[in-house]
């Protein structure tokens, strides 16, 4: 009973926060909001912790039904929550990081006139995200799935006076919607196959199916379309860089730590379906890898601090999908977790920098900030090291796990993954050095204005830095003498698929060490190169900012993918719309309809002239009529 109450309390607090803030959007003073909004998330976090502490991984997952949502005969969709290790892990991430970022936002958004609105959206987001991870069936997940999409839309376009931001928001929502349609179709296929949408039922049934079943392949592919939308994978990733239009805490929470990982979560949640669909797994692997490389490549050439981080996020999400495709569900979830820590930290750090620079986001106009903002710098550096995969920080372990699995899956995959990893190291250090090392390259006015952020912002940074640094410990591999805690914790969720998956022989420790060493060496080399180039030589930053090489030009322009979409999708669609409206609708259908009308009128106008007014003519016609009638009736 107690459990039950707590489970429902977790999403209730943010909802309450949203409703209260939303209702009193003009009334509630800022101070109250500043307490209320993070407070609600804190309460939620506490509830989660209580739940977590009271939860034992070996106990069966629990379903808590709130009410029956949609029920028609066999279609029974209860509004129910599933509590199992996976959802608890996600709950912790969402509420934990959510809380931290809420606190940070209090400082970051201090001056903004839309303070209350911001926090109401944020609370709504947390609520939706909680629904997403807690849902006990696909439709409830879908509620959260779309809900976070909405919040993302609202928050990206938070500064709605600017149409570019609005466009970015709309783009995010629509691209997500494309994915959502896939998700919907996936759900329908699940329902028609299993006659249920409930996780338990579906997975139990699926377990008995043969691998490679085309229906399962269909389901998983369709669901993956949804995941690709939400988690910004090729071909639906272009919204995420644009989404940086939103306030930075939003980018940290939604577009780095939580929402974008929903796709990973969903695939991990449906692991049994995926493990039985090798074809889909291959698709996911290729997509993930391609995304990881592509995004990393683009990130190298970006100059906007948030854009770099956004591409980095895309790239890291790609990694997670690579991990998933290699069957490393735990690895993916592990990376998800650590990524949440360090990427949130990176964004918040970037936010701190932007805050200090009065909104400046171009790294070419930064530099030398480490003196002015030591806390930010240190935490940012921790995060950079973590993401680059340098031990003993968290990113190293999580990424390594994926790489190892990738090697098991295919050495080629590993090669590419490592290449991506090297690029990651390069652009992250490029970012770090350009921002914090060297001399300040901005205007004098800005230099004067430089300051470290207030405590309300730096404390979250520190918390996250701690997490980013030591986060690896939660799943420290046996190789390092760890107990692989996360793996053990998540074991019940992935057990079934683990038993289904073909067990390759685990890599011998020597190979593991070797691989690790190679990667690490590469990463360090990259870091060094970046240092040399951007700190020691200051190359790569031409005053006229003209891209020099082909690669640079392409990378700077994001490989022209947006232009490509514009050309291939948007323009044809607009053309089609014009064609439908101006040609088909107005010239064709409407004209036919009006044509019938005017035909009637014209016929009427023509026919009436037989009424000549001439009696002689009338008599003629009548005689003719008489003759015809007689003739046809009597003589024939």
């Amino acid at each position: 009973m107690m459990m039950n109450a707590i489970v429902f309390l977790i999403p209730l607090f943010p909802l309450l926060g949203f409703l209260v803030l939303g209702a009193g959007i003009r009334v509630i003073p800022r101070k109250v909001t500043a307490l209320l909004a993070p407070g609600m998330i804190l309460l939620s976090l506490i509830s989660t912790l209580v739940l977590f502490i009271g939860f034992h991984p070996s106990t069966a997952s629990q379903v808590h039904q709130l009410f029956s949502w949609i029920r028609i005969g066999p279609l029974d969709i209860p509004f129910a929550f599933l509590i199992d290790p996976l959802s608890i892990l996600m709950l912790l991430i969402v509420t934990g990081i959510g809380f931290v970022i809420h606190v940070y936002s209090v400082g970051y958004m201090k001056e903004d006139p839309g303070f209350n609105r911001f926090f109401s959206y944020m609370n709504l987001f947390v609520f939706s995200m909680l629904l997403l991870v807690m849902g006990a069936n696909y439709p409830v997940m879908f509620i959260g799935w779309e809900g976070v999409g909405l919040c993302s839309y609202l928050l990206i376009g938070f500064w709605f006076k600017n149409h570019e931001f609005n466009n970015a928001a709309k783009k995010a929502f629509i691209m997500n919607r494309i994915g959502d349609l896939g998700f919907l179709m996936g759900m329908f296929l699940i329902f028609t196959t299993f006659h249920s949408l409930d996780y338990q039922v579906v997975f139990d049934h699926a377990r008995g199916m043969t691998p490679g079943n085309p229906v399962l392949a269909g389901i998983t592919l369709l669901l993956f379309i949804g995941a690709a939308g939400k988690s910004a994978q090729i071909p639906l990733y272009t919204w995420l860089p644009d989404a940086m239009a939103g306030p930075t805490p939003v980018s940290a929470l939604i577009h780095a730590a939580t929402m974008v990982t929903a796709g990973i979560y969903m695939v991990a949640r449906s692991n049994i379906l995926y493990i039985l669909s090798p074809a889909t797994m291959a698709v996911i692997g290729i997509t993930g890898l391609a995304t990881a490389l592509l995004a990393a490549f683009i990130a190298i050439f970006q100059n906007d601090i948030k854009k770099i981080l956004a591409y980095s996020t895309i790239s890291q999400l790609g990694y997670m999908f690579v991990g998933l495709s290699a069957g490393a569900f735990t690895g993916a979830m592990f990376h998800l977790t650590t990524h949440a820590f360090f990427k949130a930290l990176l964004f918040l750090g970037a936010g701190s920098v932007i805050h200090a620079l009065g909104g400046e986001q171009d790294i070419r106009k930064m530099g030398g900030l480490k003196q002015a903002m030591p806390k930010t710098y240190r935490t940012f550096m921790a995060a950079t090291v973590a993401i680059a995969g340098i031990p003993p920080l968290s990113g190293f372990f999580s990424k390594d796990e994926i790489l190892a699995k990738a090697f098991e899956y295919s050495p080629l995959l590993w090669v590419f993954a490592v290449a991506g990893s090297l690029m990651t190291a390069f652009y992250m250090f490029r970012l770090l050095f350009l921002t914090f090392s060297g001399d300040f390259r901005g205007t004098e006015a800005k230099r004067a204005h430089l300051h470290e952020s207030p405590a309300v912002m730096t404390i979250p940074l520190v918390i996250l830095a701690i997490l980013a640094t030591f986060g690896g410990l939660i799943n420290l591999p046996a190789l390092f003498g760890g107990n692989a805690g996360l793996e053990y914790f998540l074991e019940p969720v992935f057990a079934a698929s683990g038993s289904v998956a073909a067990h390759g022989t685990p890599l011998p420790p020597a190979t593991q060490w070797l691989l690790m060493g190679v990667t690490l060496a590469g990463v360090l080399a990259m870091a060094a190169w970046a240092w040399k180039r951007y700190t020691a030589q200051h190359r790569g930053l031409l005053p006229d900012d003209a891209p020099r090489t082909f690669a640079e030009r392409v990378g700077r322009n994001k490989i022209y993918i947006d232009e490509l979409y514009q050309l291939v999708v948007v323009r044809p669609l607009m053309w089609l719309s014009k064609f439908f409206y101006e040609i088909v609708e107005l010239r064709f259908i409407d004209r036919i309809v009006n044509g019938v009308g005017s035909l009637v009128v014209r016929t009427g106008n023509t026919v009436r002239y037989i009424q000549t007014g001439n009696v002689g003519f009338y008599m003629f016609v009548m005689i003719l009529g008489i003759i015809l009638i007689l003739f046809f009736n009597i003589l024939i």
Partner: protein
């Protein structure tokens, strides 16, 4: 008894309204009357017992020797639609208070007369009564749109009238033909019509006649061209009546009359009709992408949405049918909300041109919020009413054909595209000259909007109440149709 009161009360109101002269008293009277009507509806809801068919039956002989009787009653589907009608009419009345219509007494009288006809259509359990009320609804609709409409109203509304009238005449022929196919003694009673003995060929013809009549009203592509023009030219109340309630007549007619009667033909020709419906979804959605006029945009979006409902009706799966029923209600609420918001915008800025607007959220945040909520309903965000309907519809269509479902599903994407575009261009962005001096919602306007919002979330969060009401009757219809 309640059923016939539900029909006669608006009629009485409509006639009484004509006697009133003072506008203030008139408004009070009309709104009060419409609310009482809603109250009667609530009473009917209370009396209604789910899982037992046609209830609250009123039956009286009218032309007994011709097999026509006054048979009115309600089953779950009727009940929901009558509830929708009686719910929306007060809102429409309330929303029209901010206009100063010429000859208000006539206006409100027509509006109430139309309510009577609509309730009649939804409760008629006799074929000829259905037809009579069906046509009776057309006359006030025509006059409301034609007299109080925009500049090009004469031509447009006339097209609307003649188009829909011609369509329904076919239905008349079909009904008479059916009458003679019923078991002796012939009658128009719904049960007898269901029991009509028809050859497959006859079924096809009757199906076609019904389909055209209903397709024009719904409207299903390519019978839709009256609709955007009419919505655009109509006064706000007219658009709301047409889009919110009247087009439900077509879908209701399909469910109640077409499917059970020509079940053989539906199986045979339904796919062809389905293709039209699905094509219409894509077609209208794509057209809506580029519309500049808010009303016209919503009109095309409505074609897409109701195309989905029509498709759902035609696939004959329980989920789709239930989805259709719930979506009829949802669509009614959402579209009335959208037209209401558009009307509010137009009142304030004297334009509906999307590109001329912008920044309304700055000046009228409440308006923006309400608009957003209604918009969420109409783009089918989960936990709003639109989602329940579209989910069930798409699921039901999926059970019939995954391909159709996928094609129909693009409405999910496109509706987000054009709706958000409209929202962004009108509400967001910087304010301009036109929108600089806009005031926010008044209390009366809020009073009209809030019930809609409540319904959007009620249906979205707890659709069970509505689904359960309709379920037994949907099952019955399907059992006939199969």
């Amino acid at each position: 008894m309640l059923t016939i009161i539900l029909i006669l009360f608006p009629l009485a109101l409509s006639l009484a309204t004509l006697l009133l002269k003072k506008e203030q008293a008139l408004r009070f009277f009309v709104l009060g009357g419409a609310l009482i009507e809603f109250g009667i509806m609530v009473a009917a809801f209370v009396q209604y017992r789910t899982s037992c068919h046609c209830q609250l039956l009123f039956r009286a002989g009218w032309l007994t020797n011709m097999g026509i009787s006054l048979k009115f009653g309600m089953d779950g589907i009727s009940l929901l639609l009558v509830a929708l009608t009686t719910f929306l009419v007060p809102i429409i009345i309330l929303s029209s208070f901010s206009h100063t219509y010429r000859r208000p007494a006539t206006f409100y009288s027509l509006l109430l007369f139309m309510e009577m006809a609509l309730v009649g259509v939804f409760t008629a359990f006799d074929g000829m009564m259905f037809y009579i009320f069906w046509e009776m609804a057309l006359i006030p609709a025509y006059f409301i749109c034609a007299v109080w409409g925009g500049n090009d109203r004469i031509r447009i509304t006339f097209k609307f009238f003649i188009y829909t009238f011609a369509g329904s005449l076919l239905m008349l022929v079909a009904l008479i033909y059916l009458y003679f196919s019923t078991p002796f003694p012939h009658s128009y009673d719904i049960q007898d019509l269901y029991a009509a003995v028809l050859t497959p060929g006859e079924q096809t013809w009757i199906f076609l006649a019904f389909f055209v009549a209903f397709a024009v009203k719904i409207p299903v592509f390519p019978f839709h061209t009256w609709q955007p023009d009419t919505y655009t030219e109509s006064p706000a109340a007219g658009s709301m009546l047409l889009a919110g309630i009247m087009l439900k007549m077509g879908i209701y007619g399909m469910i109640r009359w077409m499917l059970p009667i020509c079940h053989v033909a539906v199986h045979r020709w339904g796919p062809a009709a389905l293709v039209l419906a699905v094509a219409g979804i894509v077609y209208a959605s794509v057209i809506a992408l580029r519309q500049k006029d808010m009303k016209r945009l919503v009109a095309y979006s409505s074609i897409a949405h109701v195309g989905l409902i029509a498709a759902g009706v035609l696939v004959l799966t329980i989920h789709a049918m239930q989805g259709a029923v719930i979506q009829m209600v949802s669509h009614g609420i959402n579209i009335v909300g959208l037209f209401l918001v558009i009307d509010l915008v137009e009142q304030r800025t004297k334009t509906r041109n999307i590109t001329d607007l912008g920044g309304l959220a700055l000046k009228a945040p409440r308006l923006a919020i309400f608009f957003m909520l209604i918009l969420l309903g109409s783009i089918a965000l989960p936990l709003t009413n639109g989602f329940v309907g579209e989910f069930l519809l798409l699921l039901g269509i999926f059970e019939y054909s995954a391909l159709f479902s996928a094609i129909a599903g693009v409405t999910v994407i496109f509706s987000a595209v054009y709706m958000l575009w409209m929202y962004q261009r009108t509400m967001l962005g910087p304010a301009n000259d036109i929108t600089a001096e806009v005031r926010d919602l008044s209390r009366v306007e809020m009073a009209a909007l809030i019930p809609l919002i409540i319904m959007i979330f009620w249906i979205g969060i707890a659709p069970g109440f509505f689904l359960d009401t309709a379920l037994p009757d949907v099952m019955t219809i399907l059992s006939y149709a199969r």
